[in-house]
């Protein structure tokens, strides 16, 4: 029959292999990825957004926050062990997870399926933004470890470019989204919210938390971009940062 003779793609479908019961270590690597997203990465995100919110208090208040964080014992060890290495692992392993999934929202446009896809896109956006952010603000330009008072001016210079403001807003919102839904996923997959209603209720908690974090982030970006501190000093002297809060006169 003529219609059957059309040359078509030769597709012998292979199946999915069965469970390798009790074999391999992927369980540990997956769960490590999941846990690191909450602690320390999520915990750091909250700390970071709260610290940055101090920028609304101006260059002196912001400098004091940066100085305090730099005064933590073994601060360089802390940042590598609790921030850089966990974020690198979470980001790279997350990409590996993404590449092995096959999204099908085209056929199954359900909310959970959209969130599955969104979690992957917000993850890559946040990861790219964080890499850029760390290289530019932590490893390039004036060292804020040595000159905490220069923190406000440094960020202000970065955000003087409207493209950078857009990148910061998008990257920060992606991170907040990824973290809030990540907390929800963590509770669901680790058996903390095993009921349909408990997951629904916890969903509202995560939305509220995510919105709050996003407001903190947007507020701090506004502190650098807004007119209030347009003439911020390049560096606030250490003596100024250490002075007790008062009129603001130099000590």
């Amino acid at each position: 029959m003529a219609t059957i003779q059309q040359p078509a793609a030769h597709t012998v479908r292979r199946g999915v292999q069965p469970l390798r019961a009790g074999e391999g270590n992927s369980y540990v690597w997956h769960k490590l990825h999941s846990l690191l997203g909450i602690i320390p990465i999520g915990a750091f995100l909250i700390e970071h957004l709260i610290s940055n919110f101090q920028a609304l208090g101006g260059p002196v208040a912001y400098g004091k926050t940066v100085e305090f964080l730099n005064s933590l014992p073994m601060v360089h060890v802390l940042e590598w062990v609790f921030i850089f290495i966990p974020i690198l692992y979470h980001g790279i392993y997350g990409l590996y997870i993404w590449l092995r999934g096959k999204s099908n929202v085209v056929y199954y446009p359900w909310s959970g399926n959209w969130l599955y896809l969104t979690q992957r896109y917000t993850g890559i956006i946040a990861f790219a933004f964080i890499i850029q952010h760390v290289i530019m603000e932590r490893f390039m330009g004036v060292s804020l470890h040595d000159h905490p008072g220069a923190a406000f001016y440094k960020m202000q210079q970065t955000l003087a470019n409207p493209w950078m403001v857009a990148i910061y807003v998008i990257g920060m919102l992606a991170a907040c989204w990824h973290f809030s839904y990540g907390v929800w996923l963590f509770a669901a997959k680790w058996g903390i919210t095993p009921g349909t209603r408990s997951r629904r209720r916890f969903g509202f908690v995560c939305v509220a938390g995510g919105v709050l974090l996003a407001v903190l982030g947007l507020g701090s970006i506004w502190a650098f971009v807004g007119p209030k501190y347009a003439n911020a000093p390049q560096n606030v002297p250490i003596s100024y940062l250490n002075a007790p809060a008062h009129t603001g006169a130099p000590v």
Binding site: Q17, L19, E23, G24, S26, G101, K102, A188, R199
Partner: protein, 249 residues
């Protein structure tokens, strides 16, 4: 009066190696028609809409009342049971394709033995075989029966696996059905003799950790099995088991 008709487009493939092709059919509409009954009519008169003689369509089906799990296929792109897919609820032309994630046998028939292998890998049964009468089993309280009953409704149709973004050759994910059966048999007072083994099995490669919680499984399940609840509960149990094993080891 012009007679009402039903248009179907069915994806055909004579063997796993043969080329794919689509065939169109046009049937007289009847009340209460479903996709399986439409294919039965095609088998009785295998002629395409263009008038070409063709072969009857190969498909799996048995009970025709959504209880045997045989006739899962993709209808208008979505995995579902063909017997409970009423023609009057479907947009026409009705596009019928085999499940995409299982090796094809012929036309709409696929080999779903991976689910059987997975159920064996987690020992999804109650071990009561022996050489003498063991007497009656332990009592199961009605409350426990009610909790277990929805899980026991699984018909092994594999819809939950077909719609799962994580169920694919790259992950070799076990799928929601098997995880729900682990919960069912771990809840059973005799079945739970294998509880630890089942949980350890699910921590293997392709185990419960591969779940991305997209929740398609619970949306697609024709039996409304609380699959996401089972994944959550068993996720916690597997974690507790792994920590116990690690500390005791």
């Amino acid at each position: 009066m012009a007679d009402k008709t039903v248009q179907l487009e069915i994806k055909r493939q004579a063997s796993p190696e043969a080329p794919e092709m689509w065939e169109k059919f046009e049937l007289a509409w009847r009340p209460g028609m479903n996709v399986i009954s439409a294919m039965m009519e095609i088998a009785a008169n295998p002629v395409t809409a263009e008038g070409h003689q063709t072969t009857p369509i190969a498909y799996d089906s048995n009970c025709l009342e959504e209880i045997c799990g045989s006739c899962a296929m993709r209808i208008n792109g979505r995995a579902r049971m063909a017997c409970s897919s009423l023609v009057e609820n479907l947009e026409q032309p009705i596009r019928v394709e085999p499940l995409s994630k299982f090796p094809l046998v012929r036309d709409l028939q696929v080999d779903r033995s991976v689910l059987f292998e997975n159920l064996k890998a987690v020992k999804a049964w109650v071990p009561v075989d022996g050489t003498y009468d063991l007497g009656s089993g332990p009592r199961v309280f009605p409350q426990q029966q009610e909790a277990n009953y929805p899980l026991s409704n699984c018909i092994s149709c594999t819809c939950c696996m077909e719609v799962c973004p994580q169920f694919n050759p790259a992950t070799g994910f076990v799928g929601a059905a098997t995880i729900a059966q682990v919960k069912l048999f771990n809840n059973h007072p005799t079945g739970k003799v294998f509880k630890e083994e089942r949980l350890r099995a699910l921590a293997g490669d392709g185990g419960i950790q591969e779940c991305g919680y997209a929740q398609n499984c619970v949306e697609a399940c024709p039996k409304q099995i609380p699959l996401t609840n089972a994944i959550s509960d068993i996720g916690r149990d597997v974690m507790v088991q792994k920590v116990k094993d690690w500390l005791r080891g």
